[in-house]
Subunit: 333 residues, 2 copies
Protein backbone atom coordinates (compact mmCIF):
# COMPACT_ATOMS: atom_id res chain seq x y z
CA UNK A 1 0.00 0.00 0.00
CA UNK A 2 1.24 3.54 -0.77
CA UNK A 3 2.65 5.61 2.06
CA UNK A 4 -0.08 7.41 3.99
CA UNK A 5 0.81 11.09 3.64
CA UNK A 6 -2.60 12.75 4.02
CA UNK A 7 -5.54 12.36 6.33
CA UNK A 8 -7.89 13.90 3.76
CA UNK A 9 -7.63 14.72 0.06
CA UNK A 10 -10.30 17.15 -1.13
CA UNK A 11 -11.61 17.33 -4.68
CA UNK A 12 -13.81 20.26 -5.61
CA UNK A 13 -14.55 23.48 -7.42
CA UNK A 14 -11.78 26.00 -6.73
CA UNK A 15 -13.69 29.20 -6.01
CA UNK A 16 -13.07 32.65 -4.56
CA UNK A 17 -15.98 34.02 -2.52
CA UNK A 18 -17.17 37.60 -2.88
CA UNK A 19 -19.14 38.31 0.28
CA UNK A 20 -21.44 41.28 0.75
CA UNK A 21 -24.34 42.19 2.99
CA UNK A 22 -27.83 42.68 1.60
CA UNK A 23 -31.44 42.77 2.73
CA UNK A 24 -34.19 40.33 1.74
CA UNK A 25 -35.58 42.80 -0.79
CA UNK A 26 -32.31 42.59 -2.72
CA UNK A 27 -32.71 38.82 -3.09
CA UNK A 28 -36.27 39.21 -4.34
CA UNK A 29 -35.42 42.04 -6.73
CA UNK A 30 -32.61 40.05 -8.33
CA UNK A 31 -34.34 36.67 -8.29
CA UNK A 32 -31.85 35.03 -5.93
CA UNK A 33 -33.04 31.83 -4.21
CA UNK A 34 -32.49 32.40 -0.50
CA UNK A 35 -30.12 29.95 1.19
CA UNK A 36 -29.33 28.09 -2.02
CA UNK A 37 -26.41 27.82 -4.43
CA UNK A 38 -27.42 28.85 -7.93
CA UNK A 39 -25.19 28.50 -10.98
CA UNK A 40 -24.89 31.65 -13.10
CA UNK A 41 -23.10 32.50 -16.33
CA UNK A 42 -20.48 35.21 -16.80
CA UNK A 43 -22.95 37.90 -17.97
CA UNK A 44 -25.21 37.33 -15.00
CA UNK A 45 -22.17 37.32 -12.70
CA UNK A 46 -21.06 40.68 -14.07
CA UNK A 47 -24.53 42.18 -13.78
CA UNK A 48 -25.22 40.86 -10.29
CA UNK A 49 -21.79 41.93 -9.03
CA UNK A 50 -22.39 45.47 -10.30
CA UNK A 51 -25.47 45.64 -8.10
CA UNK A 52 -24.00 44.14 -4.95
CA UNK A 53 -22.73 46.12 -1.96
CA UNK A 54 -18.98 46.55 -1.38
CA UNK A 55 -17.54 43.11 -0.75
CA UNK A 56 -14.67 41.25 0.74
CA UNK A 57 -12.89 38.53 -1.19
CA UNK A 58 -11.86 35.35 0.56
CA UNK A 59 -10.94 31.97 -0.83
CA UNK A 60 -13.80 29.51 -0.76
CA UNK A 61 -15.02 26.37 -2.51
CA UNK A 62 -16.76 23.78 -0.36
CA UNK A 63 -14.12 21.03 -0.27
CA UNK A 64 -11.30 23.60 -0.13
CA UNK A 65 -12.91 25.13 2.96
CA UNK A 66 -13.05 21.65 4.46
CA UNK A 67 -9.36 21.09 3.79
CA UNK A 68 -8.45 24.47 5.32
CA UNK A 69 -10.38 23.26 8.37
CA UNK A 70 -8.55 19.92 8.41
CA UNK A 71 -5.20 21.76 8.38
CA UNK A 72 -6.34 24.14 11.13
CA UNK A 73 -7.20 21.08 13.25
CA UNK A 74 -3.65 19.85 12.78
CA UNK A 75 -4.51 17.29 10.10
CA UNK A 76 -2.56 16.61 6.92
CA UNK A 77 -4.52 17.64 3.84
CA UNK A 78 -4.22 17.98 0.08
CA UNK A 79 -6.56 19.48 -2.50
CA UNK A 80 -7.25 19.10 -6.21
CA UNK A 81 -9.20 21.72 -8.20
CA UNK A 82 -8.75 24.19 -11.08
CA UNK A 83 -8.15 27.95 -11.04
CA UNK A 84 -7.16 30.30 -13.88
CA UNK A 85 -3.86 32.15 -14.18
CA UNK A 86 -5.27 35.43 -12.80
CA UNK A 87 -5.38 37.48 -9.57
CA UNK A 88 -8.17 35.44 -8.01
CA UNK A 89 -6.41 32.18 -8.93
CA UNK A 90 -3.28 33.46 -7.23
CA UNK A 91 -5.29 34.40 -4.15
CA UNK A 92 -6.95 30.97 -4.00
CA UNK A 93 -3.63 29.17 -4.35
CA UNK A 94 -1.88 31.33 -1.79
CA UNK A 95 -4.61 31.01 0.81
CA UNK A 96 -4.84 27.23 0.60
CA UNK A 97 -1.07 26.76 0.74
CA UNK A 98 -0.76 29.31 3.54
CA UNK A 99 -3.41 27.36 5.44
CA UNK A 100 -1.09 24.36 5.27
CA UNK A 101 -2.86 22.38 2.53
CA UNK A 102 -0.84 20.74 -0.24
CA UNK A 103 -2.31 22.25 -3.43
CA UNK A 104 -0.52 22.19 -6.76
CA UNK A 105 -3.09 21.70 -9.57
CA UNK A 106 -1.80 23.57 -12.64
CA UNK A 107 -3.74 26.78 -13.30
CA UNK A 108 -5.63 27.09 -16.58
CA UNK A 109 -3.57 29.31 -18.94
CA UNK A 110 -6.22 30.17 -21.54
CA UNK A 111 -9.93 30.24 -20.99
CA UNK A 112 -12.38 31.62 -18.47
CA UNK A 113 -11.44 33.38 -15.24
CA UNK A 114 -11.14 31.77 -11.83
CA UNK A 115 -14.54 30.73 -10.47
CA UNK A 116 -16.25 33.12 -8.10
CA UNK A 117 -19.20 32.75 -5.79
CA UNK A 118 -21.20 35.92 -5.17
CA UNK A 119 -22.49 35.48 -1.63
CA UNK A 120 -25.18 37.81 -0.37
CA UNK A 121 -25.63 37.59 3.39
CA UNK A 122 -28.96 38.74 4.84
CA UNK A 123 -29.31 40.10 8.41
CA UNK A 124 -30.49 36.64 9.59
CA UNK A 125 -26.96 35.34 8.70
CA UNK A 126 -28.29 33.22 5.80
CA UNK A 127 -26.05 33.12 2.74
CA UNK A 128 -27.45 32.99 -0.78
CA UNK A 129 -24.85 31.96 -3.33
CA UNK A 130 -24.62 32.70 -7.05
CA UNK A 131 -21.71 30.84 -8.58
CA UNK A 132 -19.89 31.48 -11.85
CA UNK A 133 -17.88 28.28 -12.33
CA UNK A 134 -15.31 29.78 -14.74
CA UNK A 135 -12.03 27.89 -14.86
CA UNK A 136 -13.15 25.26 -12.35
CA UNK A 137 -15.17 23.50 -15.10
CA UNK A 138 -11.92 22.61 -16.77
CA UNK A 139 -11.24 20.12 -14.01
CA UNK A 140 -11.51 16.65 -15.49
CA UNK A 141 -10.33 13.04 -15.22
CA UNK A 142 -6.85 14.18 -16.32
CA UNK A 143 -6.51 16.23 -13.15
CA UNK A 144 -7.31 13.30 -10.87
CA UNK A 145 -4.02 12.61 -9.12
CA UNK A 146 -3.86 8.85 -8.47
CA UNK A 147 -0.69 9.16 -6.45
CA UNK A 148 -2.32 11.63 -4.04
CA UNK A 149 -5.48 9.55 -3.76
CA UNK A 150 -3.42 6.49 -2.84
CA UNK A 151 -1.61 8.57 -0.22
CA UNK A 152 -4.80 9.83 1.45
CA UNK A 153 -6.76 8.02 4.13
CA UNK A 154 -10.03 9.53 2.83
CA UNK A 155 -10.72 11.16 -0.53
CA UNK A 156 -13.51 13.70 -0.07
CA UNK A 157 -15.55 15.08 -2.95
CA UNK A 158 -18.23 17.74 -3.09
CA UNK A 159 -21.63 17.17 -4.70
CA UNK A 160 -21.33 20.50 -6.48
CA UNK A 161 -18.96 18.77 -8.91
CA UNK A 162 -21.97 16.84 -10.24
CA UNK A 163 -23.14 19.91 -12.09
CA UNK A 164 -20.62 19.06 -14.82
CA UNK A 165 -20.32 15.76 -16.68
CA UNK A 166 -16.54 15.91 -16.95
CA UNK A 167 -16.22 16.38 -13.23
CA UNK A 168 -18.74 13.59 -12.59
CA UNK A 169 -16.48 11.23 -14.51
CA UNK A 170 -13.49 12.52 -12.56
CA UNK A 171 -15.46 11.75 -9.44
CA UNK A 172 -16.08 8.11 -10.35
CA UNK A 173 -12.46 7.73 -11.43
CA UNK A 174 -11.24 9.08 -8.09
CA UNK A 175 -13.52 6.67 -6.22
CA UNK A 176 -12.20 3.70 -8.19
CA UNK A 177 -8.60 4.73 -7.58
CA UNK A 178 -9.26 5.13 -3.86
CA UNK A 179 -10.85 1.70 -3.67
CA UNK A 180 -8.01 0.11 -5.62
CA UNK A 181 -5.55 1.68 -3.20
CA UNK A 182 -7.47 0.35 -0.20
CA UNK A 183 -8.56 3.85 0.87
CA UNK A 184 -11.95 5.34 1.72
CA UNK A 185 -14.15 7.83 -0.10
CA UNK A 186 -16.46 10.50 1.28
CA UNK A 187 -19.05 12.67 -0.43
CA UNK A 188 -21.03 15.70 0.63
CA UNK A 189 -24.43 16.21 -1.02
CA UNK A 190 -23.67 19.98 -0.91
CA UNK A 191 -27.10 21.53 -1.51
CA UNK A 192 -30.76 20.44 -1.85
CA UNK A 193 -31.05 22.05 -5.27
CA UNK A 194 -27.92 20.23 -6.36
CA UNK A 195 -29.47 16.95 -5.15
CA UNK A 196 -32.65 17.78 -7.09
CA UNK A 197 -30.67 18.32 -10.26
CA UNK A 198 -28.70 15.07 -9.99
CA UNK A 199 -30.70 12.73 -7.78
CA UNK A 200 -30.26 9.52 -9.75
CA UNK A 201 -26.51 10.03 -10.20
CA UNK A 202 -26.15 10.75 -6.51
CA UNK A 203 -28.12 7.67 -5.51
CA UNK A 204 -26.02 5.48 -7.77
CA UNK A 205 -22.79 6.94 -6.44
CA UNK A 206 -23.80 6.70 -2.79
CA UNK A 207 -24.93 3.10 -3.15
CA UNK A 208 -21.85 1.98 -5.09
CA UNK A 209 -18.84 4.17 -4.48
CA UNK A 210 -19.08 6.08 -1.21
CA UNK A 211 -17.95 4.96 2.24
CA UNK A 212 -18.83 8.09 4.19
CA UNK A 213 -21.80 10.28 3.33
CA UNK A 214 -21.98 13.87 4.60
CA UNK A 215 -25.20 15.86 4.26
CA UNK A 216 -27.64 18.04 6.07
CA UNK A 217 -31.14 16.95 6.98
CA UNK A 218 -32.86 18.54 3.97
CA UNK A 219 -30.35 17.18 1.49
CA UNK A 220 -30.76 13.65 2.82
CA UNK A 221 -34.56 13.88 2.65
CA UNK A 222 -34.28 15.21 -0.89
CA UNK A 223 -31.92 12.38 -1.89
CA UNK A 224 -34.46 9.77 -0.85
CA UNK A 225 -37.51 11.88 -1.80
CA UNK A 226 -39.14 11.68 1.58
CA UNK A 227 -40.34 14.22 4.13
CA UNK A 228 -39.68 11.73 6.93
CA UNK A 229 -36.22 12.18 8.41
CA UNK A 230 -36.23 8.73 10.04
CA UNK A 231 -37.03 7.10 6.75
CA UNK A 232 -34.21 8.99 5.08
CA UNK A 233 -31.87 7.84 7.84
CA UNK A 234 -32.91 4.21 7.37
CA UNK A 235 -32.20 4.44 3.67
CA UNK A 236 -28.79 5.96 4.31
CA UNK A 237 -28.07 3.31 6.95
CA UNK A 238 -28.72 0.58 4.42
CA UNK A 239 -26.70 2.15 1.62
CA UNK A 240 -23.60 3.62 3.28
CA UNK A 241 -21.05 2.45 5.82
CA UNK A 242 -21.22 5.77 7.68
CA UNK A 243 -23.47 8.81 7.28
CA UNK A 244 -23.17 12.07 9.23
CA UNK A 245 -26.20 14.35 8.99
CA UNK A 246 -26.13 17.94 10.27
CA UNK A 247 -29.29 19.56 11.65
CA UNK A 248 -28.27 23.21 12.25
CA UNK A 249 -28.86 24.19 15.89
CA UNK A 250 -29.94 20.61 16.67
CA UNK A 251 -26.40 19.36 16.05
CA UNK A 252 -25.69 16.18 14.11
CA UNK A 253 -26.82 12.56 13.83
CA UNK A 254 -24.29 9.91 12.85
CA UNK A 255 -25.22 6.42 11.76
CA UNK A 256 -23.06 3.35 11.13
CA UNK A 257 -24.69 -0.06 10.84
CA UNK A 258 -26.82 -0.40 13.96
CA UNK A 259 -25.18 2.49 15.75
CA UNK A 260 -26.83 5.92 16.04
CA UNK A 261 -24.95 8.75 17.73
CA UNK A 262 -26.36 12.21 18.37
CA UNK A 263 -24.04 15.15 18.89
CA UNK A 264 -25.46 18.46 20.15
CA UNK A 265 -24.43 21.68 18.43
CA UNK A 266 -21.62 23.68 20.01
CA UNK A 267 -22.56 27.03 21.57
CA UNK A 268 -22.21 30.14 19.40
CA UNK A 269 -22.52 33.61 20.94
CA UNK A 270 -23.66 35.27 17.72
CA UNK A 271 -24.23 33.66 14.34
CA UNK A 272 -22.80 36.13 11.79
CA UNK A 273 -22.67 34.17 8.53
CA UNK A 274 -23.60 30.51 8.10
CA UNK A 275 -21.38 30.12 5.01
CA UNK A 276 -19.09 27.14 5.52
CA UNK A 277 -20.94 25.50 8.42
CA UNK A 278 -21.32 22.18 6.57
CA UNK A 279 -17.81 22.39 5.12
CA UNK A 280 -16.26 22.81 8.54
CA UNK A 281 -18.41 20.12 10.13
CA UNK A 282 -17.00 17.82 7.45
CA UNK A 283 -13.45 18.94 8.34
CA UNK A 284 -13.79 17.86 11.95
CA UNK A 285 -15.83 14.76 11.28
CA UNK A 286 -13.61 13.39 8.52
CA UNK A 287 -10.39 14.08 10.39
CA UNK A 288 -11.83 12.14 13.31
CA UNK A 289 -12.73 9.28 10.94
CA UNK A 290 -9.25 9.34 9.41
CA UNK A 291 -7.83 9.02 12.93
CA UNK A 292 -10.27 6.20 13.78
CA UNK A 293 -11.85 8.11 16.66
CA UNK A 294 -15.21 6.98 18.11
CA UNK A 295 -18.19 8.41 16.19
CA UNK A 296 -19.15 10.81 18.97
CA UNK A 297 -15.68 12.34 19.00
CA UNK A 298 -15.73 12.68 15.21
CA UNK A 299 -19.03 14.55 15.48
CA UNK A 300 -17.76 16.69 18.33
CA UNK A 301 -14.80 17.87 16.22
CA UNK A 302 -17.32 18.68 13.49
CA UNK A 303 -19.64 20.80 15.61
CA UNK A 304 -16.74 22.72 17.21
CA UNK A 305 -15.26 23.56 13.80
CA UNK A 306 -18.70 24.55 12.44
CA UNK A 307 -19.43 26.81 15.43
CA UNK A 308 -16.19 28.73 14.89
CA UNK A 309 -16.82 29.41 11.21
CA UNK A 310 -20.39 30.72 11.62
CA UNK A 311 -19.28 33.22 14.27
CA UNK A 312 -17.62 35.43 11.59
CA UNK A 313 -17.89 36.32 7.89
CA UNK A 314 -16.17 33.87 5.56
CA UNK A 315 -16.05 30.11 5.28
CA UNK A 316 -12.60 29.35 6.63
CA UNK A 317 -11.45 29.28 10.25
CA UNK A 318 -9.95 32.46 11.68
CA UNK A 319 -8.41 30.84 14.74
CA UNK A 320 -6.46 27.62 15.27
CA UNK A 321 -9.13 24.93 15.44
CA UNK A 322 -6.58 22.62 17.04
CA UNK A 323 -6.12 25.05 19.96
CA UNK A 324 -9.87 25.65 20.10
CA UNK A 325 -10.73 21.94 20.37
CA UNK A 326 -8.00 21.47 22.98
CA UNK A 327 -9.49 24.32 25.02
CA UNK A 328 -12.81 22.48 24.91
CA UNK A 329 -11.22 19.19 25.99
CA UNK A 330 -12.42 17.51 22.80
CA UNK A 331 -10.54 14.43 21.68
CA UNK A 332 -8.29 15.13 18.68
CA UNK A 333 -6.32 11.91 18.41
CA UNK B 1 -18.73 79.29 -9.74
CA UNK B 2 -19.26 75.70 -10.90
CA UNK B 3 -22.22 73.80 -9.51
CA UNK B 4 -21.39 72.18 -6.17
CA UNK B 5 -21.94 68.46 -6.75
CA UNK B 6 -19.61 66.92 -4.18
CA UNK B 7 -18.81 67.52 -0.55
CA UNK B 8 -15.42 65.87 -0.90
CA UNK B 9 -13.25 64.82 -3.85
CA UNK B 10 -10.49 62.39 -2.88
CA UNK B 11 -7.21 62.00 -4.76
CA UNK B 12 -5.01 59.06 -3.86
CA UNK B 13 -3.33 55.74 -4.56
CA UNK B 14 -5.97 53.21 -5.63
CA UNK B 15 -5.03 50.11 -3.65
CA UNK B 16 -6.53 46.75 -2.70
CA UNK B 17 -5.64 45.60 0.80
CA UNK B 18 -4.59 42.02 1.53
CA UNK B 19 -5.12 41.56 5.26
CA UNK B 20 -3.71 38.69 7.30
CA UNK B 21 -2.94 38.01 10.92
CA UNK B 22 0.62 37.51 12.14
CA UNK B 23 2.66 37.60 15.32
CA UNK B 24 5.46 40.03 16.17
CA UNK B 25 8.10 37.43 15.28
CA UNK B 26 6.81 37.43 11.69
CA UNK B 27 7.45 41.19 11.41
CA UNK B 28 10.99 40.81 12.77
CA UNK B 29 11.78 37.82 10.58
CA UNK B 30 10.71 39.61 7.42
CA UNK B 31 12.08 43.04 8.32
CA UNK B 32 8.69 44.76 8.42
CA UNK B 33 8.59 48.10 10.29
CA UNK B 34 5.77 47.74 12.81
CA UNK B 35 2.93 50.26 12.44
CA UNK B 36 4.43 51.89 9.36
CA UNK B 37 3.72 51.91 5.62
CA UNK B 38 6.74 50.68 3.65
CA UNK B 39 6.97 50.77 -0.13
CA UNK B 40 8.03 47.49 -1.73
CA UNK B 41 8.71 46.39 -5.31
CA UNK B 42 6.95 43.58 -7.17
CA UNK B 43 9.55 40.89 -6.29
CA UNK B 44 9.38 41.71 -2.62
CA UNK B 45 5.56 41.78 -2.80
CA UNK B 46 5.51 38.31 -4.34
CA UNK B 47 7.96 36.93 -1.80
CA UNK B 48 6.29 38.48 1.22
CA UNK B 49 2.81 37.40 0.07
CA UNK B 50 4.02 33.80 -0.29
CA UNK B 51 4.98 33.86 3.39
CA UNK B 52 1.83 35.53 4.75
CA UNK B 53 -1.08 33.72 6.36
CA UNK B 54 -4.35 33.24 4.42
CA UNK B 55 -5.78 36.68 3.75
CA UNK B 56 -8.90 38.56 2.95
CA UNK B 57 -8.96 41.10 0.13
CA UNK B 58 -10.79 44.38 0.61
CA UNK B 59 -10.53 47.64 -1.28
CA UNK B 60 -8.33 50.15 0.46
CA UNK B 61 -6.21 53.21 -0.33
CA UNK B 62 -6.19 55.96 2.26
CA UNK B 63 -8.21 58.65 0.46
CA UNK B 64 -10.52 56.02 -1.06
CA UNK B 65 -11.30 54.74 2.45
CA UNK B 66 -12.07 58.32 3.45
CA UNK B 67 -14.47 58.74 0.54
CA UNK B 68 -16.22 55.45 1.35
CA UNK B 69 -16.67 56.91 4.83
CA UNK B 70 -18.02 60.20 3.47
CA UNK B 71 -20.61 58.28 1.44
CA UNK B 72 -21.56 56.12 4.43
CA UNK B 73 -22.18 59.33 6.39
CA UNK B 74 -24.58 60.44 3.66
CA UNK B 75 -22.15 62.85 2.00
CA UNK B 76 -21.58 63.24 -1.73
CA UNK B 77 -18.13 62.07 -2.76
CA UNK B 78 -15.96 61.48 -5.81
CA UNK B 79 -12.54 59.87 -6.19
CA UNK B 80 -9.63 60.03 -8.62
CA UNK B 81 -6.92 57.33 -8.72
CA UNK B 82 -5.47 54.66 -11.05
CA UNK B 83 -6.04 50.90 -11.14
CA UNK B 84 -5.04 48.33 -13.79
CA UNK B 85 -7.39 46.38 -16.01
CA UNK B 86 -7.30 43.24 -13.83
CA UNK B 87 -9.33 41.41 -11.14
CA UNK B 88 -8.14 43.62 -8.31
CA UNK B 89 -8.82 46.76 -10.34
CA UNK B 90 -12.35 45.53 -10.98
CA UNK B 91 -12.81 44.83 -7.27
CA UNK B 92 -11.54 48.30 -6.31
CA UNK B 93 -13.82 50.01 -8.84
CA UNK B 94 -16.85 47.98 -7.84
CA UNK B 95 -16.41 48.53 -4.13
CA UNK B 96 -16.00 52.29 -4.40
CA UNK B 97 -18.98 52.68 -6.73
CA UNK B 98 -21.07 50.32 -4.62
CA UNK B 99 -20.22 52.45 -1.60
CA UNK B 100 -21.82 55.38 -3.42
CA UNK B 101 -18.67 57.21 -4.51
CA UNK B 102 -18.39 58.62 -8.04
CA UNK B 103 -15.27 56.94 -9.43
CA UNK B 104 -14.50 56.75 -13.13
CA UNK B 105 -10.72 57.12 -13.67
CA UNK B 106 -9.78 55.02 -16.72
CA UNK B 107 -7.94 51.81 -15.79
CA UNK B 108 -4.39 51.35 -17.06
CA UNK B 109 -4.51 48.94 -20.03
CA UNK B 110 -0.83 47.97 -20.26
CA UNK B 111 1.65 48.02 -17.44
CA UNK B 112 1.88 46.87 -13.86
CA UNK B 113 -0.95 45.29 -11.87
CA UNK B 114 -3.34 47.10 -9.56
CA UNK B 115 -1.59 48.31 -6.41
CA UNK B 116 -1.84 46.12 -3.34
CA UNK B 117 -1.05 46.71 0.28
CA UNK B 118 0.00 43.65 2.25
CA UNK B 119 -1.25 44.34 5.75
CA UNK B 120 -0.05 42.17 8.61
CA UNK B 121 -2.10 42.66 11.74
CA UNK B 122 -0.50 41.69 15.07
CA UNK B 123 -2.56 40.57 18.11
CA UNK B 124 -2.32 44.12 19.53
CA UNK B 125 -4.43 45.29 16.51
CA UNK B 126 -1.50 47.25 15.01
CA UNK B 127 -1.26 47.09 11.23
CA UNK B 128 2.08 47.02 9.43
CA UNK B 129 1.73 47.81 5.75
CA UNK B 130 3.92 46.82 2.79
CA UNK B 131 2.70 48.51 -0.37
CA UNK B 132 3.41 47.61 -3.99
CA UNK B 133 2.23 50.72 -5.85
CA UNK B 134 1.79 49.00 -9.26
CA UNK B 135 -0.62 50.81 -11.58
CA UNK B 136 -1.31 53.60 -9.10
CA UNK B 137 2.04 55.23 -10.03
CA UNK B 138 0.63 55.95 -13.44
CA UNK B 139 -1.60 58.59 -11.95
CA UNK B 140 -0.36 61.95 -13.15
CA UNK B 141 -1.34 65.54 -13.92
CA UNK B 142 -3.34 64.26 -16.91
CA UNK B 143 -5.68 62.42 -14.58
CA UNK B 144 -6.47 65.51 -12.53
CA UNK B 145 -10.09 66.24 -13.33
CA UNK B 146 -10.54 70.02 -13.18
CA UNK B 147 -14.28 69.76 -13.64
CA UNK B 148 -14.63 67.51 -10.59
CA UNK B 149 -12.34 69.69 -8.49
CA UNK B 150 -14.44 72.74 -9.31
CA UNK B 151 -17.56 70.79 -8.34
CA UNK B 152 -16.20 69.72 -4.93
CA UNK B 153 -16.37 71.75 -1.73
CA UNK B 154 -13.07 70.24 -0.53
CA UNK B 155 -10.43 68.40 -2.56
CA UNK B 156 -8.64 65.97 -0.25
CA UNK B 157 -5.26 64.45 -1.05
CA UNK B 158 -3.17 61.85 0.72
CA UNK B 159 0.48 62.42 1.65
CA UNK B 160 1.32 58.97 0.31
CA UNK B 161 1.10 60.48 -3.18
CA UNK B 162 4.30 62.39 -2.39
CA UNK B 163 6.33 59.24 -2.86
CA UNK B 164 6.16 59.84 -6.61
CA UNK B 165 7.20 63.01 -8.45
CA UNK B 166 4.45 62.74 -11.08
CA UNK B 167 1.82 62.52 -8.39
CA UNK B 168 3.40 65.38 -6.49
CA UNK B 169 2.96 67.56 -9.57
CA UNK B 170 -0.63 66.34 -9.90
CA UNK B 171 -1.10 67.35 -6.30
CA UNK B 172 0.06 70.93 -6.85
CA UNK B 173 -2.03 71.15 -10.00
CA UNK B 174 -5.14 69.98 -8.14
CA UNK B 175 -4.52 72.57 -5.41
CA UNK B 176 -4.22 75.37 -7.97
CA UNK B 177 -7.39 74.30 -9.73
CA UNK B 178 -9.29 74.17 -6.44
CA UNK B 179 -8.10 77.64 -5.49
CA UNK B 180 -9.00 79.04 -8.92
CA UNK B 181 -12.49 77.55 -8.54
CA UNK B 182 -12.90 79.13 -5.10
CA UNK B 183 -12.82 75.75 -3.36
CA UNK B 184 -10.79 74.40 -0.45
CA UNK B 185 -8.00 71.83 -0.25
CA UNK B 186 -7.17 69.32 2.46
CA UNK B 187 -4.13 67.12 2.96
CA UNK B 188 -3.34 64.21 5.25
CA UNK B 189 0.30 63.68 6.19
CA UNK B 190 -0.45 59.92 6.03
CA UNK B 191 2.52 58.43 7.89
CA UNK B 192 5.58 59.59 9.90
CA UNK B 193 7.96 57.75 7.58
CA UNK B 194 6.29 59.43 4.60
CA UNK B 195 6.78 62.80 6.31
CA UNK B 196 10.46 61.94 6.92
CA UNK B 197 10.96 61.13 3.26
CA UNK B 198 9.37 64.35 1.98
CA UNK B 199 9.54 66.88 4.80
CA UNK B 200 10.52 69.94 2.79
CA UNK B 201 7.92 69.29 0.08
CA UNK B 202 5.25 68.80 2.73
CA UNK B 203 6.18 72.00 4.55
CA UNK B 204 6.08 73.98 1.33
CA UNK B 205 2.73 72.53 0.37
CA UNK B 206 1.17 73.03 3.79
CA UNK B 207 2.34 76.65 4.00
CA UNK B 208 1.25 77.55 0.46
CA UNK B 209 -1.52 75.31 -0.85
CA UNK B 210 -3.46 73.62 1.94
CA UNK B 211 -6.52 74.95 3.77
CA UNK B 212 -7.15 71.98 6.05
CA UNK B 213 -4.36 69.83 7.44
CA UNK B 214 -5.12 66.34 8.77
CA UNK B 215 -2.49 64.40 10.70
CA UNK B 216 -1.83 62.41 13.81
CA UNK B 217 0.31 63.66 16.66
CA UNK B 218 3.53 61.91 15.58
CA UNK B 219 3.21 63.04 11.98
CA UNK B 220 2.75 66.66 13.03
CA UNK B 221 5.77 66.53 15.34
CA UNK B 222 7.80 64.96 12.54
CA UNK B 223 6.69 67.64 10.08
CA UNK B 224 8.04 70.39 12.32
CA UNK B 225 10.92 68.31 13.69
CA UNK B 226 10.02 68.77 17.31
CA UNK B 227 9.26 66.43 20.21
CA UNK B 228 7.01 69.08 21.76
CA UNK B 229 3.38 68.65 20.70
CA UNK B 230 2.43 72.20 21.74
CA UNK B 231 5.19 73.63 19.60
CA UNK B 232 4.05 71.55 16.63
CA UNK B 233 0.50 72.81 17.16
CA UNK B 234 1.70 76.45 17.23
CA UNK B 235 3.53 75.97 13.97
CA UNK B 236 0.46 74.37 12.37
CA UNK B 237 -1.73 77.17 13.75
CA UNK B 238 0.47 79.77 12.05
CA UNK B 239 0.67 77.96 8.71
CA UNK B 240 -2.81 76.51 8.10
CA UNK B 241 -6.36 77.74 8.33
CA UNK B 242 -7.50 74.60 10.09
CA UNK B 243 -5.59 71.59 11.42
CA UNK B 244 -7.14 68.47 12.94
CA UNK B 245 -4.72 66.25 14.85
CA UNK B 246 -5.68 62.76 16.04
CA UNK B 247 -4.15 61.30 19.21
CA UNK B 248 -5.42 57.67 19.25
CA UNK B 249 -7.31 56.95 22.49
CA UNK B 250 -6.92 60.61 23.55
CA UNK B 251 -9.21 61.75 20.73
CA UNK B 252 -8.44 64.77 18.56
CA UNK B 253 -7.32 68.38 18.83
CA UNK B 254 -8.56 70.88 16.28
CA UNK B 255 -7.06 74.34 15.81
CA UNK B 256 -8.27 77.29 13.73
CA UNK B 257 -6.70 80.72 14.34
CA UNK B 258 -7.08 81.34 18.06
CA UNK B 259 -9.56 78.51 18.57
CA UNK B 260 -8.57 75.17 20.08
CA UNK B 261 -11.16 72.40 20.36
CA UNK B 262 -10.56 69.03 21.98
CA UNK B 263 -12.76 66.06 21.10
CA UNK B 264 -12.55 62.87 23.19
CA UNK B 265 -12.30 59.50 21.44
CA UNK B 266 -15.51 57.54 20.99
CA UNK B 267 -15.87 54.33 22.99
CA UNK B 268 -14.82 51.07 21.33
CA UNK B 269 -15.64 47.73 22.95
CA UNK B 270 -12.73 45.89 21.32
CA UNK B 271 -10.09 47.29 18.99
CA UNK B 272 -9.62 44.63 16.29
CA UNK B 273 -7.59 46.35 13.58
CA UNK B 274 -6.52 49.99 13.59
CA UNK B 275 -6.25 50.12 9.77
CA UNK B 276 -8.25 53.07 8.49
CA UNK B 277 -8.64 54.95 11.79
CA UNK B 278 -7.10 58.14 10.39
CA UNK B 279 -8.86 57.75 7.05
CA UNK B 280 -12.26 57.51 8.71
CA UNK B 281 -11.56 60.36 11.12
CA UNK B 282 -10.87 62.43 8.00
CA UNK B 283 -14.18 61.30 6.48
CA UNK B 284 -16.21 62.61 9.40
CA UNK B 285 -14.16 65.71 9.98
CA UNK B 286 -14.04 66.83 6.36
CA UNK B 287 -17.75 66.20 5.77
CA UNK B 288 -18.45 68.37 8.80
CA UNK B 289 -16.19 71.07 7.36
CA UNK B 290 -17.89 70.83 3.96
CA UNK B 291 -21.21 71.33 5.73
CA UNK B 292 -19.82 74.26 7.75
CA UNK B 293 -20.49 72.61 11.11
CA UNK B 294 -18.84 73.92 14.28
CA UNK B 295 -15.35 72.45 14.82
CA UNK B 296 -16.45 70.27 17.74
CA UNK B 297 -19.16 68.64 15.63
CA UNK B 298 -16.71 68.05 12.78
CA UNK B 299 -14.39 66.31 15.23
CA UNK B 300 -17.25 64.34 16.74
CA UNK B 301 -18.19 62.93 13.32
CA UNK B 302 -14.52 62.01 12.90
CA UNK B 303 -14.15 60.09 16.15
CA UNK B 304 -17.43 58.21 15.64
CA UNK B 305 -16.40 57.08 12.15
CA UNK B 306 -12.91 56.10 13.38
CA UNK B 307 -14.32 54.08 16.28
CA UNK B 308 -16.52 52.04 13.93
CA UNK B 309 -13.68 51.12 11.57
CA UNK B 310 -11.24 49.93 14.24
CA UNK B 311 -13.83 47.58 15.74
CA UNK B 312 -13.44 45.16 12.78
CA UNK B 313 -10.90 44.03 10.17
CA UNK B 314 -10.66 46.27 7.12
CA UNK B 315 -10.48 50.00 6.57
CA UNK B 316 -13.98 50.77 5.34
CA UNK B 317 -17.18 51.06 7.36
CA UNK B 318 -19.33 47.95 7.72
CA UNK B 319 -22.43 49.73 8.99
CA UNK B 320 -24.19 52.91 7.89
CA UNK B 321 -22.19 55.67 9.56
CA UNK B 322 -25.12 58.02 9.00
CA UNK B 323 -27.40 55.80 11.10
CA UNK B 324 -24.63 55.30 13.66
CA UNK B 325 -24.06 59.03 14.15
CA UNK B 326 -27.80 59.61 14.38
CA UNK B 327 -28.04 56.94 17.09
CA UNK B 328 -25.37 58.84 19.01
CA UNK B 329 -27.21 62.15 18.59
CA UNK B 330 -24.21 63.65 16.80
CA UNK B 331 -24.86 66.60 14.52
CA UNK B 332 -24.67 65.63 10.84
CA UNK B 333 -25.91 68.79 9.16
Amino acid sequence: MAELRYDILGVGNAIVDVIASCDDAFLTEHGIEKGAMTLIDEDRARDLYSKMAPGREVSGGSAANTLAGVASLGGRGAYVGKVADDDLGEIFTHDLNAAGVDYATLPLKLGPATARCLINVTPDAQRSMSTFLGASVFFSEDDVDGEKIAAANITFMEGYLFDRDDAKRAFIRASELAKAAGRRTALTLSDTFCVDRHRSSFRHLVANHIDILMSNEDELKSLYETTDFDEALSRARAETRVAAVTRSEKGAVIIRGDETVEVPADTVTKVVDTTGAGDLFAAGFLLGMARDLPLYDCGRLGVIAAAEVISHFGARPETSLEALTESKNARLK
